[in-house]
């Protein structure tokens, strides 16, 4: 159990506060120095010096690669990147080897997380929707739920058959879990390497149309309405999809959705020089899509931010575009990258916290710190002005694959406590 702690003079939503922590939970949040109190002799005092304090964020879409692909990332290194990135909870997708489609895989992942990061960041495995992610037979979701999975998803290998996907939604509901769908029609997306459009046509690369995503988003929305079962749409990337989600929400369909920093900051012209670092699935879209994504995030059509953290080994991206695997390593840089949206006036600071923390906790039933007495003392200090360059050395993930390498970021996580224990 952690010793008592005071964080002095932190900025919480614009107010200078002192935060008292006892027994791993928030004891009180008071205006800075408003009430000078005497604290027990063993109280640690951390002078925040006016840095912003945020509740630890949740990243509901990461790939930690363990078991099976530890050369790309493992649970220890993935959680280290999460801790340094400001994340207190991560949800890890099931496309490991073996696939997380049974309790023993789930349990071994959880054991590894507890052993390497006993105080957190906390790992919430996401179970496969179908056995081996093969899209043929339902995975044992009750077993996965009992073992500790927080959601169900075939991410990476979307379920193309509408009938089977319906059954996934229904059965997951029975087990008390929500299905996260990677919206991609497998036939429309086959063998594609970037967004289909002006740029792909010009540079001669087979492109993926926005309808490859939106046609499946539409399917999921219609199923969710028909079944009255919630569905969560993963890493939405284009205007067509957000138009559908907005329409669905107006009708009261139980649909939620996420997007990633790269869909808000980059467009498909990143690929004019065939840069494998910018290859991601769904692909980076057009500037008009980026504008639509920003709008949708601001108005709440997109509920949450996630990284879709997809680390790869260096040699795997050292190739031509069509040979490169999809994915951006995101945990280390996501918070500063999306802080840009606050600086640009797209998001209020309140909504920034909501999209990264409160909304994910609500959708996936995760522990959350709202700075009320008794809440878990999970928070980090953030310097909103610090400028730093994203270099491989500055990243804690094993995966250094990001198109933001070499770019100047503004804002940096300076310290991070989980359950009152300092982890960074």
């Amino acid at each position: 159990m952690s010793s008592p702690l005071i964080i002095r003079n932190a900025l919480y939503l614009g107010q200078a506060v002192d935060i008292a922590v006892r027994g791993g939970v928030v004891e009180s949040v008071t205006p800075h120095e408003a009430a000078r109190r005497s604290f027990p002799a063993d109280t640690a005092v951390h002078e925040a010096q006016g840095l912003k304090i945020f509740p630890s964020f949740a990243d509901c879409h990461v790939h930690l690669r363990e078991p099976g692909y530890e050369y790309k990332e493992d649970i220890e290194s993935g959680l280290r990147a999460a801790a340094h990135g400001g994340f207190g909870a991560v949800m890890a997708m099931a496309n490991t080897n073996p696939v997380n489609d049974n309790a023993s895989v789930t349990q071994s992942m959880l054991a590894k997380a507890r052993a390497t990061w006993p105080h957190g960041p906390r790992l919430f495995p996401v179970g496969a929707a179908t056995v081996g992610l093969e899209g043929k037979q339902l995975a044992p979701m009750a077993e996965l739920a009992a073992a500790g999975c927080a959601a169900i998803s075939n991410d990476g290998r979307p379920v193309g058959g509408a009938e089977l996907f319906r059954r996934c939604m229904e059965y997951a509901r029975t087990c008390g879990l929500i299905v996260i769908d990677h919206c991609e029609d497998p036939t429309l997306a086959k063998d594609t390497h970037m967004n289909e459009g002006e740029t792909s046509g010009r540079i001669g690369v087979k492109g993926q149309s926005v309808v490859a995503e939106s046609v499946q988003a539409a399917r999921d929305i219609l199923l969710a309405e028909y079944l009255q079962i919630p569905v969560h749409l993963a890493h939405i990337s284009c205007k067509q999809s957000v138009d559908l989600i907005r329409w669905a929400k107006e009708r009261g369909v139980p649909v939620t959705a996420e997007t990633c920093p790269h869909y808000l900051l980059l467009n498909d012209t990143e690929l004019v020089n065939y840069s494998p670092m910018a290859k991601v699935n769904p692909p980076l879209r057009t500037p008009a899509d980026v504008a639509a994504m920003r709008q949708a995030l601001a108005d709440g059509t997109i509920d949450i931010l996630v990284t879709d953290h997809a680390p790869h080994a260096e040699h795997e991206k050292e190739c031509t575009l069509d040979e490169a695997p999809n994915g951006i390593s995101g945990l280390d840089s996501a918070v500063p990258l999306t802080w840009t949206l606050v600086r640009d006036g797209v998001l209020s600071e309140h909504d920034f916290i909501r999209r990264w923390c409160h909304a994910p906790a609500e959708i996936f039933n995760l522990p959350v710190n709202r700075f009320a007495p008794g809440d878990p003392a999970d928070f980090f200090l953030f310097d909103p002005e610090e400028r730093w360059v994203l270099t491989p050395d500055a990243m804690h993930s094993k995966g250094k694959n990001t198109p933001f390498l070499g770019r100047m970021l503004t804002g940096r996580v300076k310290a991070h406590w989980l359950g009152g224990v300092r982890v960074v």
């Binding site: 002006e198 792909s200 046509g201 540079i203 690369v205 040699h315 190739c319 031509t320 575009l321 040979e323």
Partner: protein, 318 residues
């Protein structure tokens, strides 16, 4: 020869025609004309590139283009080495990075690359010190083909293509020949039309500097040249075409079409031809067909390309 090449070639590599200015295109084609003259001599060999080495790296098979470069190199007395998919470790299993390191170790002056990946030539160019000549990368670019097509047309039309209309017909979507020709022909002043069924047109084509047609009868009217593209027969299996006879009925260039084109209109084809599918057989053999002229032009233009890139460092500027 040296006297005429005071022009310092500014490019390390030839990746795409978009990198060339109009002056550079004309200089390259003029240089080709001088080599064309050598190719008509009884002894078709000059010592210009003696001691230089040219690696022909063809990850994707192409007898025509490879032979054309090989002949071009040999006529300039360069040593040419072929690194092909069969007979070496260049398979889809070896990464292009490893291949690049192997090629670098051979320390060649020029590498001519043909590869299935769009961007492969640029990938090598960014990593290797020697000149990289793109002999076709994926669907992206085939600059030497476009230059030889322009060279052939120039022999008939002269240096300016202003007022000329060129129709490019066939599988535009997958065609690096089409992409490079659109850029080069418009740079030379021609108007370009494209004609294909919608399934074989790239995204965003309506923003290219061309007019786009799906009806060959309309597209061919008033054309001064028609450039047929090779159709990969597996496009039918890929679901892009219903069947090849229907394609031939709709898009095969025939004498009837050429009667609607401008008088004396020329016909080009990068070869090898699928006779009766892309181009009526009898049309391919008529005098206005430049098909064989294109082959001869190919050697001359590729001699110019090898010469300009292999001697660039000798010119003093890097």
């Amino acid at each position: 020869m040296q006297e005429k090449h005071r022009f310092t070639w500014p490019h390390k590599d030839l990746l795409d025609v978009s990198q060339l200015s109009l002056d550079e295109v004309n200089h390259l084609l003029d240089t080709g004309e001088q080599f064309h003259e050598i190719n008509r001599r009884p002894v078709k060999k000059v010592p210009t590139l003696k001691g230089k080495s040219v690696v022909l790296f063809f990850a994707e098979p192409s007898t025509r283009t490879k032979t054309s470069f090989d002949v071009a190199g040999k006529r300039l007395s360069a040593d040419t080495f072929a690194l092909t998919k069969s007979g070496s470790s260049i398979t889809k299993g070896e990464t292009l990075k490893d291949t690049a390191l192997t090629l670098q170790a051979m320390n060649p002056d020029v590498i001519v690359i043909r590869h299935w990946s769009s961007g492969a030539a640029q990938y090598l160019a960014e990593r290797l010190d020697c000149a990289i000549v793109n002999a076709g990368d994926g669907w992206h670019a085939h600059p030497t083909q476009a230059l030889l097509d322009a060279f052939s047309l120039r022999n008939h039309w002269g240096r300016s293509f202003a007022g000329k209309t060129v129709l490019i017909l066939g599988d535009i979507l997958h065609s690096r020949v089409a992409r490079s020709n659109v850029q080069l022909l418009t740079k030379l002043g021609a108007s370009v039309r494209l004609c294909a069924p919608h399934t074989l047109l790239p995204a965003g084509v309506h923003n290219w500097p061309v007019t786009v047609h799906t009806s060959l009868d309309q597209a061919v009217q008033g054309a001064d040249a028609v450039m047929c593209l090779r159709l990969q027969l597996e496009r039918q299996q890929a679901g892009l075409l219903p069947d090849l006879s229907e394609y031939a009925t709709t898009y095969c260039l025939t004498a009837r079409h050429m009667a609607m084109a401008n008088p004396g209109a020329l016909v080009l084809h990068p070869g090898p031809m699928n006779r009766g599918l892309e181009i009526a057989s009898e049309l391919a053999d008529r005098p206005e067909s430049l098909v064989l002229e294109q082959v001869a032009s190919g050697v001359a233009v590729r001699m110019a390309i090898l010469f300009l890139h292999a001697t660039r460092k000798d010119g003093g500027t890097k």
